[in-house]
């Protein structure tokens, strides 16, 4: 790379470019078609589907960059390795930097960054897919899914160390298992009565921190009938790793049957439960 042919990239670089182009053109469709649908968190809900799409896009961007960097590094390490001890002590060319390469490089990374940020922001609008993340106590209208008003409200209460669920539209029923009807928008209101937990319905791709004294709303629409696990994703003390719970997504009819069954099962305690509220601050609250 002498200063004479500065206008033209060196032949090695051109070779690397062509190999990269061919490999990327092969790899990206393979990623999109075969890897994408297998990526977590699956497609058991609209949010999961949206995140899977997001992950697919990012893998499809990362793979060609990875291929390019590997080709460049391995290629130049082989091409420019010193032949022997003596050769290794002679100096290379004193190239201090080419502004055009710098501008090109920064522009390309900037375009990728802009695209990723725009795409991520677009995916956050839950109009189509939702994102499944906690939206805080009073999400504004732009962050709500289209059928938010008809969503089934479910309160998630975290405590050291278990989850309970309240169904305010079914007489404030409180259960230890989460059952949801399929194809029904659900509005989780996640709260905690002691320390911070994080409600993670793994297959539904919903995660919302359960913060004491506040409520954290998350929307999701399960689209597949299946059983899965709920875990706590924020360290909450001794049995954090055991803070699991069962989630079943069932048909609407089965859901109604389950509700009736649970109401009968929990009837004895029902009159002792506090009236439904967004947050609870039971005694004792402070060291004393």
């Amino acid at each position: 790379m002498s200063s004479d042919d500065r206008l033209k990239p060196p032949p090695e670089l051109r070779r690397i470019f062509w190999i990269w182009l061919v490999l990327s053109v092969i790899a990206v469709p393979l990623v999109v078609i075969f890897v994408g649908p297998a990526l977590p968190p699956g497609s058991a809900s609209d949010a999961a589907h949206g995140q899977q799409q997001d992950n697919t896009v990012m893998v499809a961007i990362v793979v060609p960059i990875m291929i390019g960097l590997l080709l460049y590094f391995i290629g130049s390490l082989i091409r420019f390795r010193s032949k022997d001890e003596v050769d290794g002590l002679t100096d290379g060319p004193a190239t201090a930097g080419d502004p055009r390469v710098m501008v090109l490089w920064i522009s390309v990374t900037f375009v990728i960054v802009l695209f990723l940020a725009a795409w991520g922001a677009y995916e956050l609008f839950p109009g189509e897919d939702g994102a499944g993340g906690g939206l805080g106590s009073a999400p504004i209208s732009v962050a709500l899914p289209a059928d938010a008003s008809s969503a089934l409200p479910v309160q998630v209460i975290g405590q050291q160390w278990t989850w309970t669920y309240r169904y305010p539209t079914y007489g404030g029923l409180e259960t230890t298992e989460l059952v949801l009807p399929v194809n029904q928008e659900v509005r989780f209101s996640v709260t905690s009565i002691d320390v911070i937990h994080s409600f993670w319905a793994i297959n539904l791709a919903v995660k919302a921190d359960a913060v004491p004294g506040t409520t954290n709303v998350a929307f999701v629409k399960p689209v597949r009938e299946e059983a899965s696990t709920i875990r706590c994703a924020e360290l909450c003390g001794l049995w954090h790793g055991h803070m699991t719970s069962r989630l079943r997504v069932v048909s609407p009819a089965a859901f109604r049957v389950w509700i009736a069954h649970e109401r009968a099962k929990w009837a004895p305690i029902q009159r002792y439960l506090p009236p439904y509220k967004p947050t609870y601050a039971p005694e004792p609250t402070y060291r004393g």
Partner: protein
């Protein structure tokens, strides 16, 4: 240790207060214990009298915290940190010759020689690094089975917290401590740091913090991991105080280092050491120092507030008494995110420092690299809420923090471009430092690419708080910083100790480290995405084979550090290869100096004539003129 054979630098005058006793680590420990006893059994006991929450719960935080605080003060007094201020107040003349006697003893005293502090930092942080690494092995042992088999759940969480906190505390000083203190004054042509006693203090706070943190084991542990989220931390057992105090101490140490480094580089550069001739490692230190100076006080504040919630009964973070756990999350991550760049940036600087030497080319795009480092430093203050995407903060902020986070990939990509440009057309020598520097880029790319998944708010919903995050930051910190650290250590070891570490053992260590690092942490991305949250002692049985794979691989990874320890002993005591003055044929100014570097580095103020990267430049002058005439000093702007 041959570095101990430093020639005498003139007569050392014995100040009058020497007669009070020889202040060293031993008197420090004695006074520390005395301080603890007085603090806990006298002051704390009196203060906690009549408070049922302290007296009737077998958890007297007041006594414990008073003991720890007084113990720390006692240790520092015993180390001799009060001697100079008292001497000056009593009218003694200013001096820098504090504890500069020779031999191995000065490594256990308050020493104002920046090279001694660098070596203290090196072995000090490595010691705690190995303990934290041992904790990692114990953690992985637990995860061989889906439920508790080896340690009980509370011991396991304590192990996780100890590992995380210790690593975060020690790796912040892992590069800046040893190499920053040892080489920054040398590289800029100075005789010392700007504030040598503060430099010594910044080191001695590190082992104190390490010991205080480890003492949590004997105080029923702490359950919060390294993030110490309130209000769990307010509720936690006695060991939590150890975490809070030790992390606050490290915060103080970080702020002191940052401020000392900034002043040193800004005011003490040799004539001719213009900003564009500054080695890139020094630029990385500047960027890091800014972060430390601005971020660490927030950490100290957060730790103090939690401590007050626990001890005095304030309610800053108590949700049902007017406080807010969000406040802690914001405070912590406002420090915590710059913190991860405090870890990463010195690594960037180190590998960019190493690459030109072993490609025998100038650093490609030097000014851009500087811009990249400063850009990372600046941006890192605007991203902290990406840790809180699902926490229930205002959701409309997510696009902003997603964008700022992804913007950081621009300056980091610049560092990659610097490396790629430097490699092109070079005469690449695959020495051990070079291998570590190259592996840095492989690991850091995977770390950065996984970071994009985490920065993307929708995707972060599933990856947040899982092993995916854990794998991500191990790729950036262990794969990045620790690889850079070993690169720097192999590169500078001949200069620091006059011993060339064995290349063959070094390569063996490198390949074990690199291969098994990747085999350990890459599967953890999958583990996280398949539903395993961080810091759990029990997980889904379906993930057992993946976890077992990782554990087995982690053991071999741990073994690679044994090779390093063997290498150090073998090279220092058995091999004794005659040290070459400049084994890597580097142009750096540090290699122009004799080994070991004399006490004042430079006999006369040097004049800097060139950047250290002028490989292949015809008739390039030596970087430093070590014996300049008065006229040369004046023309250089001295």
């Amino acid at each position: 240790m041959s570095a101990a054979a430093i020639p005498a630098a003139g007569p050392v005058r014995e100040p009058w207060w020497r007669g009070l006793g020889r202040f060293n680590v031993f008197t420090g420990i004695v006074l520390g214990i005395v301080g603890y006893v007085i603090g806990a059994l006298v002051i704390g006991h009196v203060l906690s009298k009549g408070i049922p929450a302290m007296e009737e719960t077998d958890q007297n935080d007041v006594e414990f915290v008073c003991g720890l605080l007084l113990g720390i003060i006692g240790f520092l007094v015993g180390m001799g940190f009060m001697n100079y201020p008292i001497a000056r107040l009593s009218g003694a003349a200013p001096t820098l010759r504090e504890k500069e006697e020779h031999g191995i003893a000065r490594y256990f005293t308050l020493c104002t020689d920046h090279k001694v502090v660098g070596i203290q930092y090196l072995w000090g942080t490595l010691f705690f690094f190995l303990i934290a690494g041992l904790n990692a092995m114990l953690i992985r042992t637990q995860l061989l089975y889906p439920t508790e088999h080896f340690w009980s759940a509370d011991n396991y969480i304590t192990l996780v917290g100890l590992h995380g906190t210790m690593m975060m505390m020690m790796t912040t000083s892992m590069v800046l401590g040893p190499f920053g203190n040892y080489f920054v004054p040398v590289l800029i042509g100075a005789k010392r740091m700007a504030f040598p006693r503060i430099e010594a203090l910044s080191f001695w706070l590190v082992p104190v913090a390490g010991i205080v943190l480890l003492s949590a084991v004997g105080a029923k542990g702490f359950p919060t991991g390294w993030t110490g989220y309130a209000n769990l931390s307010v509720q936690a057992k006695l060991g939590m105080d150890c975490y809070l105090i030790s992390f606050a101490l490290i915060g103080i140490s970080m702020a002191l280092v940052g401020f000392n480094m900034l002043v040193t580089v800004y005011t003490m550069r040799a004539p001719g050491m213009t900003w564009t001739r500054l080695p890139i490692f020094v630029w990385a230190v500047i960027a890091t120092a800014f972060l430390q100076l601005l971020a660490a006080p927030v950490l100290i504040a957060a730790m103090s507030l939690v401590l007050m919630d626990r001890v005095v009964g304030t309610t800053f973070f108590m949700p049902f008494s007017g406080g807010s756990p969000f406040l802690y999350e914001n405070l912590f991550w406002f420090f915590g995110h710059p913190e991860v760049y405090i870890l990463a940036l010195p690594g960037f600087g180190l590998v960019l420092e190493i690459l030109p030497v072993f490609t025998r080319k100038p650093l490609w795009g030097y000014r851009l690299a500087v811009a990249g480092l400063l850009g990372v430093a600046l941006l890192s203050f605007f991203v902290w809420q990406h840790h809180l995407f699902v926490s229930g903060i205002n959701p409309d902020l997510r696009p902003f923090f997603m964008f700022t986070t992804e913007l950081i990939s621009i300056p980091t990509a610049i560092v990659f471009l610097n490396a790629m440009g430097t490699l092109w057309g070079g005469k690449i020598r695959f020495t051990v430092p070079m291998l570590f520097a190259l592996a840095f880029f492989f690991n850091f790319f995977i770390g950065g690419a996984s970071g994009v998944f985490l920065s993307d708010a929708p995707s972060d919903v599933s990856t947040h708080g899982t092993f995916f995050v854990m794998a991500h930051f191990h790729y950036t910190i262990m794969g990045g910083l620790v690889f850079a650290f070993f690169g720097g250590l192999f590169y500078w070891f001949p200069k620091m100790f006059g011993v060339h570490l064995n290349e063959r053992l070094g390569k063996l260590q490198f390949w074990f480290f690199f291969v098994f690092f990747n085999l350990t942490f890459f599967p953890l991305f999958a583990v996280g995405m398949l539903g395993q949250p961080r810091r759990v002692s029990a997980y889904a049985p379906s993930l057992q084979w993946l976890n077992d794979w990782v554990t087995a691989s982690a053991y071999v990874l741990g073994f690679s550090f044994v090779i390093f320890v063997v290498n150090v002993f073998y090279s220092c005591f058995w091999q004794r290869r005659k040290p070459e003055p400049n084994p890597w044929h580097s142009k750096g100014i540090e290699w122009q100096l004799p080994t070991p570097i004399p006490v004042d580095n430079f006999a006369r103020v040097p004049v800097i004539n060139a950047s250290p990267y002028e490989y292949g430049v015809p008739d390039a002058p030596l970087v430093a003129n070590l014996n300049p005439t008065h006229a040369e000093v004046v023309t250089a702007g001295g």
